[in-house]
Every structure is written in structure tokens, then in C-alpha cells.
Amino acid sequence: MQAADKTFIQLLNQHQKIIHKVCNLYLNWQEDKEDLFQEITLQAWKAYGQFRGDAKFSTWLYRVALNTAITFFRKDKKKDFIESVADLPENIDFAERDSIEEKTQAMYKAIASLSKIDKAIVMLYLEDYSYAEISEIIGITANNIAVKMNRIKVKLREATLKNFERI
């Protein structure tokens, strides 16, 4: 294995949480998540030659991972992306009636029901990226990101309340 390969694998290993998060946010089924994980890894490897180091590796990896997840489509509709609130992530346990936990579950469901683009914006927002940084990754102006984020917050608030009442 060459030095560049080793460095890349080490970097990926250190930042693998990013790929896990993107896979969990965009897909519902374990098998599909594994496929997407591999796809992101391969895509990052192909593009690694162009990584100049002028941006943080984590930011660069987010860009690769989100691009791959957004353009990743499944032919089998049953195994498609989490599109409705009925498609719950596997790790939600409704038996526990803890208020904070329930709120988190309700919010998680609401995020899962967002469009692919909105999910990407929320994911970067959750990572505490500034609007300027998010705009560089998404490719639209920071003002536009701010407008979108406000709308997403309203959408999430309403959806979370609905989901919370159902729990």
C-alpha cells in the first residue's frame, strides 16, 4: 500500500462518523446504508487526488458524502429513502416514555421526512457550520441558506409537534 493510500485510509477512519451520519440520515435499511457507505468511500477515494488541503478534510468529506447520498437512488421503491414519517429509523425505541427522548424521537422523525436538500442543510447546521460555510458546500448564497433554514425550522417545529402528540 502506498503512503497516499495509507494517509487517506487513516483520515477516513478518523472521520468515519460523518459517513455514518449521512448514511443514517438518508437511508432506512441496513443493507442500503452499507451500499451507500461503500459508495461514499469509493467516491472519496476517486476524488482524493484533487483534495488540496486548503479546506478541512471533514468539510471536504461532507461535500463528497452529501453529493453521493443526494444522487444515490434505489430502483426498489420499498427500499427507497426515508420519505415519510411512517418510515421510522430502526434505532427508535418507543417503549421509553422519557420526555426529552420522546422530543428527540419526534424531531428525528421530522428531519427524516424532509427533502434530500433540506436534510443536507440540517445536517451541516447540526454540525455547527456557519451559513457561509454551508453555502460553500451547497452552492447557493449564505442569504439563501438563512432563508431556507428559517423555513426548515418552522417545518420541523410543526412536524415535531404532530409527531410528539402521536407518541
Partner: protein
């Protein structure tokens, strides 16, 4: 219930249940094959380049070895047409490779991907449609002007007991039906391969329009 209040917990939930991969796992993942639409286009392009090479060799071989003047022109022309087509395929492959190795912002990535897919499908359709008139009209023209009679075709009209004009009319009708079917089939085939995907990408891009 605000997103900001639950930031930490949502972040935590996003990695719940994920098993940490080792460096060995990553090394193995890199040996796998990609299944993205870009990889599929690359495979299609390589397959078509290989087919085009074979067609050029085979058709030019027939053109040079056939004793029929019409077959020489017909296969010679087809073989020649496939040479620029192969060049176009290599050009598209170069574009796909460049795209695959770049990391653009999400909006730019969607725009490039849509453009690449539309270019690919447009060229594919145009080339197929360009071949149709060459295929049919040239075949008729050369067939009618063939100096040496083609025994099989001449015997066919005698066996079917039809007049020459009815026979020609039948062939023209059959050709028109076949051309129309081929146009619709090619459109359907391209749409089935990439049409729905392009529409999905366009709707994603529409979401990113500046407001």
C-alpha cells in the same frame, strides 16, 4: 420544541447503531466496485466503444472483401460513420472521468450530472436516428441499382405471387412501420435507462433555485 434545543441529542442519534470500521475494513471497501450512475455510464460507454471498434473492423472487412458493389458501399459507409461516433464516445468518457474525480458544491454537482446525462442520452438518440435513413434509404437505393441481380430477393417476389409495385409498396410500408417503431423504442429505452433519474435530479436542482 426547537431544532437548536435538541442539536446534541439529534447528533447522537445519527450515529446510534453504527459500527465503527477499522482501517482494514476501509482498505477492503476500496477494492469494491462502485454502483453510482456515473459508474454505470462509464460501463455503458466502454461497452459501446468496444462494440463500435468491432463494428468498424467487421464492416470495413466486409466492404473490402465483398464482391457486390452495393455491399461495399453500404458497409463501407457504415464502418466510416462509426469512426467519428467512437471518437464522440471517448470524448464523453473523458468528461465522465473528469466529473468523477471532482468534488463540486451540491448545486454545481447536480447541474454537471444533469448536463452529462442529457448530453449522453441526446448523442445516443441522435446517432441512432442518424443511422436510420442511412440504413434504409441507402439500402433501397443500392439494392435497386445493384448491377448484379440478388437471386433470393428476385425469387421472393415470384414465390409470393405479387406484382412488383405491390411488393415495393409492401417493403416501403414495412420500412416506415419499422422506422417509427425504432424511433419510439429508442426514446422509450433511453427514458427507461436515465429519464426518471434525470427528472429526479432536476427536481432536486429546482429546490436550490435562489429566492
Amino acid at each position: 420544541m426547537e431544532l437548536d434545543d435538541l442539536k446534541g441529542l439529534i447528533n447522537q442519534k445519527l450515529i446510534e447503531g453504527s459500527l465503527d470500521k477499522t482501517e482494514h475494513n476501509f482498505a477492503n471497501l476500496l477494492k469494491g466496485k462502485a454502483n453510482s450512475v456515473v459508474s454505470k455510464i462509464k460501463k455503458s460507454l466502454w461497452f459501446e466503444i468496444a462494440c463500435s471498434f468491432l463494428v468498424v473492423l467487421l464492416f470495413l472487412g466486409i466492404a473490402f472483401s465483398s464482391s457486390y458493389h452495393s455491399l461495399k458501399i453500404y458497409f463501407g459507409l457504415f464502418g466510416a460513420v462509426f469512426i467519428p461516433f467512437t471518437y464522440i464516445l471517448f470524448y464523453l468518457l473523458k468528461k465522465v472521468n473528469e466529473f468523477e474525480h471532482s468534488v463540486l458544491p451540491i448545486k454545481g454537482n447536480l447541474q454537471q450530472l444533469i448536463k452529462m446525462l442529457e448530453d449522453f442520452t441526446r448523442r445516443y438518440f441522435q446517432f441512432n436516428m442518424a443511422l436510420l435513413p442511412i440504413c434504409f434509404l441507402l439500402a433501397f437505393y443500392l439494392g435497386l441499382n445493384e448491377k448484379e441481380p440478388v437471386a433470393i430477393l428476385d425469387n421472393l417476389s415470384i414465390k409470393l405471387k405479387v406484382t412488383k409495385s405491390l411488393y415495393i409498396g409492401f417493403i416501403i410500408g414495412y420500412s416506415i412501420a419499422l422506422i417509427v417503431s425504432l424511433v419510439y423504442f429508442t426514446k422509450w429505452y433511453i427514458r427507461k435507462l436515465y429519464g426518471k433519474y434525470i427528472e429526479q435530479l432536476k427536481s432536486l436542482l429546482a429546490e436550490l433555485k435562489e429566492e
